[in-house]
């Protein structure tokens, strides 16, 4: 009975169950993470040393496998020496939720490491600017070209085969080249984002444009619309809601290139923070930084989705999505 209610093909959900399920999609992973972190018998394959006892190579805060720890304890007891002591713990790469939360707070309130350094918020802002400019430059070229490709066959044939080829070239591979041409600061980083985004963008937008309802074009032609008019008054407005949605997806795409882009040239932005913390195995900070990126990206997308409803109130596909 209940099953039927939940699993009806293509049946829209009520607003309330949508909200509940949406929240659950976040709560469930966090719940699993908490159980693994806080319930000692669930995983905890290692021992975190609190007192090295008589074992010379152990240090406080060191982690070792349970079996090896048990051996050391029994050896020490047999020899009537002080046994090491420790508590069950997870490996260092899985910090508990509260540690990550604390790292989240601490990393924002921690002053810059050096006088010439940046606050984390400044580093984050720098990353956002890299994304912004990379995406803007990509869109200035990609959106018009994509629409033209989708509208006019010759343009598509002239550009798409090459773009299809180029999109397989991995953007990070252009790193050293970009540095050689554009220097060590933001130029090469923005370039990587553009290379990573642009070629997908043209193809996706061209495809979206091709899906425009043919009857709209026919109707316009019957009414005597000419070529430039047709493009400006029919094609572009016709695909605009879909184009907006494509851009939202592509913006997410641009974010995924951020880390490789920022590794090029001088260390900067959120990537500097992540790589530096990972080098010293401060994984709580690494998770915190990854979450910051997630929150910013997801937050932007929610705002854009909300704006979409304002911009395109007639677009019915929005109801299905949100």
């Amino acid at each position: 009975m209940h099953r039927e209610k939940w699993f009806q093909v293509l049946k829209p959900l009520s607003a309330r169950s949508k909200l509940v399920l949406g929240l659950l999609s976040f709560v469930l992973p966090i719940l699993i993470w908490s159980i693994v972190s806080y319930v000692p018998f669930v995983w905890h394959p290692q021992i975190r040393i609190t007192d090295p006892g008589s074992v010379d190579y152990l240090q406080v805060e060191m982690r070792m496998d349970k079996a090896a720890f048990a051996d050391e304890v029994s050896d020490a007891l047999k020899a009537h020496r002080a046994p090491p002591r420790g508590v069950a713990s997870n490996p260092i790469y899985l910090p508990a939720p509260d540690e990550v939360l604390r790292a989240f707070y601490v990393s924002f309130t921690m002053p810059p490491p050096t006088q010439d350094g940046a606050w984390l918020s400044q580093a984050l802002w720098h990353s956002i600017q890299i994304i912004f400019w990379g995406f803007v430059i990509s869109s200035i070229i990609g959106v018009p070209l994509g629409i033209l490709c989708g509208t006019y066959g010759p343009v598509a044939r002239l550009s798409e085969p090459f773009i299809e080829f180029f999109r397989y070239l991995p953007a990070p591979a252009f790193g050293a080249l970009a540095v050689a041409i554009l220097g060590i600061y933001d130029g090469p980083k923005i370039t990587i984002i553009v290379i990573g985004t642009l070629f997908q963008q043209v193809l996706i937008i061209a495809n979206t444009t091709r899906k425009l309802d043919a009857s709209l074009v026919e109707a316009a032609l019957t009414l005597g619309a000419r070529n430039p008019q047709l493009l400006r008054r029919v094609v572009v407005p016709g695909v605009l809601p879909d184009l907006y949605r494509d851009q939202r997806i592509l913006l997410g795409w641009a974010w995924t290139y951020l880390i490789v882009a920022e590794l090029i040239g001088t260390s900067s932005g959120i990537t500097w923070f992540i790589t530096q913390q990972a080098r010293y195995q401060h994984f709580a900070n690494v998770y915190a930084a990854i979450m910051m990126i997630g929150i910013i990206g997801f937050g932007t997308d929610i705002v854009l989705a909300f704006l979409a409803k304002r911009f395109f109130p007639w677009d019915r596909s929005l109801e299905k999505m949100a």
């Binding site: 190579y57 152990l58 490491p113 790193g175 554009l182 220097g183 600061y185 001088t266 913390q277 080098r279």
Partner: protein, 328 residues
């Protein structure tokens, strides 16, 4: 006409973007790349204390990951970069020609071959697998150690492993030893209880020198500045080595890399900083590890033998003692 001017604008933008980075113009500050190694992080002391400005220098130190810093140097975007003497040769063989003008330090224990539990010496590695980044400094260290123990490199099997991943690789139990520098070597020791260093750069001091490597054009144009910079370096070394000021120096350096001073101090201990007086000695031409020349020849042989580059480099052309000699 209008098309022409569009081209001009485009060209202008390109030139502006490309030209700004090139440090060849004399008015622009000197740009030097530095990365996470105690002997280089030491410059942070001069930066934070304002000693560069005091010396009348306009030098920008740019923080990099080590690999990208060499890319930027090769691309001509930096006046100088802090690298190992071996990597200076590798960079130079690939077109990033430069000159080593100042020794900052040599590794004195920070580079290690770490044996898994039960492996107590290099001899125990006979017939076993070792995780190492082939063609890089730890590989050189391992070969040097094997030679010192009367072994040949045929007696072990190498597994090419990025240095950053060596702690996890040792922990996986799939190799009997790894080679890494700090902080990775320390992480490996802490990640795998019972593991121990079986050969370190302290047993081959001078095998791995760290140097300031600058472009010949920048050196020719800024000789006076580089001499001043060498003097600042001397001040940094004495500030760090003086027990009275060591604490302050360690604070500055630990902050730069995000560690506590207590965590940072052991890393500093594995690095032998070189002041100008010692620099002048080590810049004298001699065979063996006590001279930069001798050490670089060994690295040169190693690189050719391991196919890092094909033609042996002329080591003399890579070394210029004139800067340190000019400091009195």
């Amino acid at each position: 006409m209008s098309r022409k001017s569009t081209w001009k604008i485009a060209l202008g933008v390109l030139l502006a973007l490309a030209g700004v980075g090139a440090g060849s113009a004399s008015a622009a500050p000197l740009k030097i790349g530095y990365s996470d190694w105690p002997g280089w992080v030491a410059w942070q002391v001069a930066i934070d204390k304002g000693w560069l400005k005091q010396a009348g220098l306009d030098v920008q130190f740019q923080w990099f990951d080590y690999g990208p810093s060499m890319d930027a140097f090769s691309a001509g975007k930096l006046d100088g970069d802090l690298v190992t003497n071996g990597d200076a040769l590798v960079t130079g063989s690939g077109g990033g020609k430069g000159v080593m003008i100042l020794l900052t330090d040599y590794s004195n224990g920070n580079d290690m071959i770490v044996g898994a539990p039960g492996i107590k010496s290099l001899k125990d590695l006979k017939g076993k697998q070792v995780g190492i980044e082939i063609g890089f400094v730890e590989h050189l260290l391992l070969l040097n150690g094997l030679k010192a123990n009367g072994m040949s490199d045929k007696e072990i099997r190498l597994v090419n492993t990025p240095t950053n991943n060596t702690p996890q690789v040792l922990a996986s139990g799939q190799v009997s030893a790894i080679g890494a520098w700090q902080p990775n070597s320390g992480m490996a020791l802490r990640t795998v209880p019972g593991s121990r260093p079986i050969y370190t750069s302290a047993q081959a001091p001078g095998l791995i020198y760290d140097v300031l490597y600058v472009t010949p054009t920048s050196l020719a144009a800024h000789k006076v500045e580089y001499i001043k910079l060498a003097k600042v370096w001397d001040r940094v070394v004495h500030y760090i080595n003086d027990p009275k000021t060591e604490g302050d120096a360690v604070n500055i350096m630990a902050r730069r890399v995000g560690l506590t001073p207590a965590q940072y101090k052991p890393l500093l201990k594995g690095t032998h900083l070189i002041d100008i007086a010692e620099d002048q000695e080590r810049f004298k031409k001699a065979p063996g590890l006590s001279s930069l020349y001798g050490s670089s020849e060994i690295a040169n042989d190693f690189d050719v033998k391991n196919g890092v580059y094909k033609t042996p480099q002329n080591v003399d052309a890579y070394i210029d003692p004139s800067i340190t000699d000019a400091v009195k």
